[in-house]
């Protein structure tokens, strides 16, 4: 028995000490492994279902309905192979960049913001309402667009920021744990938005709960045919990722934000106003969630409608996959975006059930995230040759 912990410890040591190249190799190997496991799963489930046009017949076993190669190929081609697929991938990537960054910003300050979803929902609603009003006042041309879109983003950031500030204040001044408060505020945000749109500010003639459609002057200019994706939004998201990375590594404010969240008393002792910084971190995090909502309205749906996708929750997974590193959020959201887009393509063209595709997505994410997760865990518990456990499990 005593040998077992040692060997696990050695493995964790090895994992924590892995060089960047080794980590990339590990990630790619994990991806391949996930694909292989998924292929077996797809093949096996194909034998236990019935379908009209099986692709293979194994004597004694029966007909196999799903061809794993076809499934993966459709996924890949659906995500990157056509203009509409690529647009869908990049659209999703852009949104996940913002929600992922929202979660990462809070994480770096030692705060767990599960409320990105609610901040996004309210940000989206604020944007929709502001651009619906403003869109009527400005000239219907590029000039109008230059006015309306930034104002729309600001409105989303403001609403999301305020919604993020509330749990920040509760954490700093009332000692209420942000995990609990942000989860609860998600429900409140969805409920408030639903009530307002259904009864007051929405299109009351429709059976669906939605606002009017926003005018063309409030829509991001599209960059790819057959898609609403806009390059401007993606470039903006990338710049924000770089900016946040610089904020935390190169500025005094970033340093103070981190210390306040991770070690409040130490921060106070060294003359930093830790409480205010907790509020600042949560507000910044909420504002990013709000911007995700703004982009969603102005680039994806062109209106606010109940049932906004769970991008805020996906952001948590994106951030963890990225080791909470703002730059790492970029490839992580591209992976999530590609998987989402690919699974839509499978749904459109193959008879493979949605649930099975979700399992494939889950496998890939799980396999890629696990080594990083254990690495964080190992680092946290002081394994590796540089056992500094106080970094909050983050990646530099």
């Amino acid at each position: 028995m005593s040998r077992l912990p040692t060997s696990i410890g050695a493995a964790l040591d090895r994992l924590v000490d892995a060089s960047p190249v080794e980590r990339i190799v590990i990630s790619i190997a994990s991806l391949l492994f996930a694909v292989a496991v998924g292929a077996v799963l797809v093949l096996v489930s194909g034998f236990v279902t019935e379908c009209d046009d099986p692709f293979v017949l194994l004597p004694g076993v029966g007909y196999g309905c799903y061809n794993p190669l076809e499934v993966y190929w459709t996924m890949l081609e659906g995500a990157f192979g056509s203009s509409s697929g690529l647009g869908r991938t990049l659209q999703e990537t852009t949104l996940l960049l913002f929600t992922g960054l929202s979660v990462a910003v809070a994480f770096r300050a030692g705060l767990f913001n599960i409320g990105t979803q609610g901040q996004m929902v309210l940000g989206a609603l604020a944007t929709a309402l502001v651009v619906l009003e403003l869109g009527q006042l400005v000239p219907q041309n590029v000039v109008g667009m230059v006015i309306v879109i930034p104002v729309g983003i600001a409105a989303g950031a403001l609403a999301g920021g305020i919604w993020g500030m509330i749990p920040g204040l509760m954490k700093a001044y009332a000692d209420a744990h942000e995990v609990i408060t942000t989860i609860m505020l998600n429900f409140i945000a969805t409920g408030v938005a639903l009530y307002l749109v259904q009864n007051h500010v929405g299109d009351l003639t429709s059976d669906s709960v939605l606002t009017e459609t926003i005018p063309s002057v409030a829509r991001f200019p599209t960059s790819i045919s057959d898609s609403r994706f806009s390059m401007y939004a993606l470039i903006g998201a990338l710049l924000v990722a770089v900016g946040i990375s610089l904020l935390y590594t190169r500025t005094i404010l970033g340093y103070e934000l981190r210390t306040s969240g991770i070690q409040e008393t130490a921060a106070e002792y060294s003359g930093v106003n830790a409480k205010r910084n907790i509020v600042t971190s949560m507000t910044l995090s909420g504002a990013l969630g709000g911007v995700a909502g703004a982009i969603y309205v102005m680039m994806v749906q062109y209106r606010w409608q109940s049932g906004i996708p769970a991008l805020g929750f996906d952001g948590i997974a994106v951030s963890i996959l990225a080791g909470n590193n703002p730059i790492g959020v970029i490839p992580a959201s591209l992976l999530f975006g590609g998987l989402k887009s690919g699974s839509v393509a499978i749904d459109l063209s193959l008879g493979v059930p949605n649930e099975l595709v979700d399992v494939l997505r889950g496998l890939i994410i799980l396999f890629i995230a696990m080594p990083e997760f254990f690495r964080m865990l190992g680092k946290w518990s002081g394994f590796g040759s540089d056992p500094v456990g106080a970094s909050g499990g983050e990646e530099a």
Binding site: D53, P54, F55, V56, L57, L58, P59, V61, Y63, G64, S84, R88, L194, Q198, S206, D207, S208, V209, L210, T213, D226, Y296, V300, Q301, R303, Q305, S306, G307, I308, P309, A310, V344, D347, L348, S349, N354
Partner: protein, 351 residues
């Protein structure tokens, strides 16, 4: 040891690969006369209700006509636009069926942009030359099941998995999302119950989702706890929880859209009736019109009791067991609705 296992599995795999013969699939797509693209609503397939009805319509059409279909299940409303556009822009597809009112706003724009594609929308009206709309007078069918629920709660009745509670006269309603469409179900149902006796209590609640059976069960638990004899749901997949609740309290429930005593057969001992909405016929008819080259577009089909678009059907376990006076009363009210003698409200304000 490891190596041997590996070799064995490779061997098995290779043998299986050689023995298995590839079956030509899917590429028969081009051979069919008509290809249909169908986009469901967010409740998705397997709801044993609305979407499954649409699915059975397309399955029927597939067995009767030379058609192929592709279907798509949106995870969220936001996916609907993309899926509509994918199908609309696909040259092989001759008809795009949009199942559910959430498609309305996107379809208005897409029907305009893809003006040489044919569309059908269920549960909403889109006013365009290339769109046929099917809407149902759900309040009429709901009045019927409300009438039945009202009669049951005033009677002492026990059969199959349930019995009524003679002390209280309460019948409940569980909705999915709170929209004016579902309000039609609710209004018709309450009017039907009150048609029996004004003093019958009619609590109603919304689960806020089409695919959340556990909330559906919680709501129904509360209603049965308070003494409700019958709970009617109009909540898609959420309704599964209502049936489970009815079974645990040994009371009755009423299904929706499909004859749920068949589609949710495991609960047939409590499903005394279902308000069926012939979404399957609507899908089937629209495909038939394309196959027969009779699709005109711009039509709105408003289907009620008279057109057999909606109906109250008795559950399979209760078919020959309900007291005659209840069955006769239902038959009377049905005729009176068709004749216009009973005016069924389609919203709560007109109750």
């Amino acid at each position: 040891m490891e190596r041997r296992t590996f070799l064995t599995s490779v061997g098995v795999g290779a043998t299986a690969g050689m023995a298995g013969c590839l079956v030509d699939n899917g590429d028969g797509d081009d051979e069919a006369d008509v290809t249909v693209g169908i986009v469901y609503s967010t409740g998705g397939l397997g709801d044993e209700s609305f979407n499954d009805m649409a699915y059975s319509g397309i399955e029927d059409a597939e067995s009767d006509f030379d058609i192929d279909y592709q279907d798509a299940e949106p995870d969220t409303v936001a996916d609907m636009n993309d899926m509509q556009r994918q199908f609309a822009g696909d040259e092989d597809i001759d008809l795009v069926c949009c199942i559910g009112f959430d498609h309305e706003t996107d379809l208005i724009e897409n029907a305009d942009e893809f003006d040489d594609q044919r569309f059908v929308i269920i549960d909403a009206v889109v006013d365009a030359d290339n769109v046929d709309s099917y809407v149902f007078r759900e309040h009429e069918g709901s009045f019927q099941v409300g009438h039945l629920a009202g009669l049951l709660t005033e009677t002492e009745y026990a059969h199959a998995g349930g019995e009524t509670n003679p002390d209280d006269s309460i019948v409940g309603f569980v909705g999915g999302e709170e929209t004016s469409l579902i309000e039609r179900f609710e209004a018709g149902y309450i009017a039907g119950a009150e048609y029996v006796d004004d003093s019958i209590e009619t609590p109603s609640a919304y689960a806020g989702s089409w695919d959340d059976p556990s909330t559906g069960q919680e709501i129904a638990n509360g209603m049965y706890e308070d003494g409700a004899d019958v709970v009617y749901h109009s909540a898609g997949g959420t309704g599964g929880g209502v049936f489970e609740s009815a079974q645990s309290y040994e009371r009755f429930a009423i299904g929706v859209d499909d004859d749920q005593s068949l589609s949710a057969e495991e609960s047939s001992d409590v499903i005394v009736a279902s308000m069926i909405k012939r979404v399957d016929n609507a899908v089937y008819d629209s495909i038939e019109s394309v196959v027969e080259d009779e699709f005109e577009g711009g039509d709105t089909n408003d289907l009620g009791l008279e057109e057999d678009g909606v109906d109250a059907v008795i559950g399979q376990d209760f078919e020959d067991d309900l007291p005659d006076d209840i069955v006769n009363a239902l038959e009377d009210s049905r005729q009176q609705i068709i004749d216009g003698d009973i005016d069924v409200p389609d919203n709560l304000d007109d109750l």
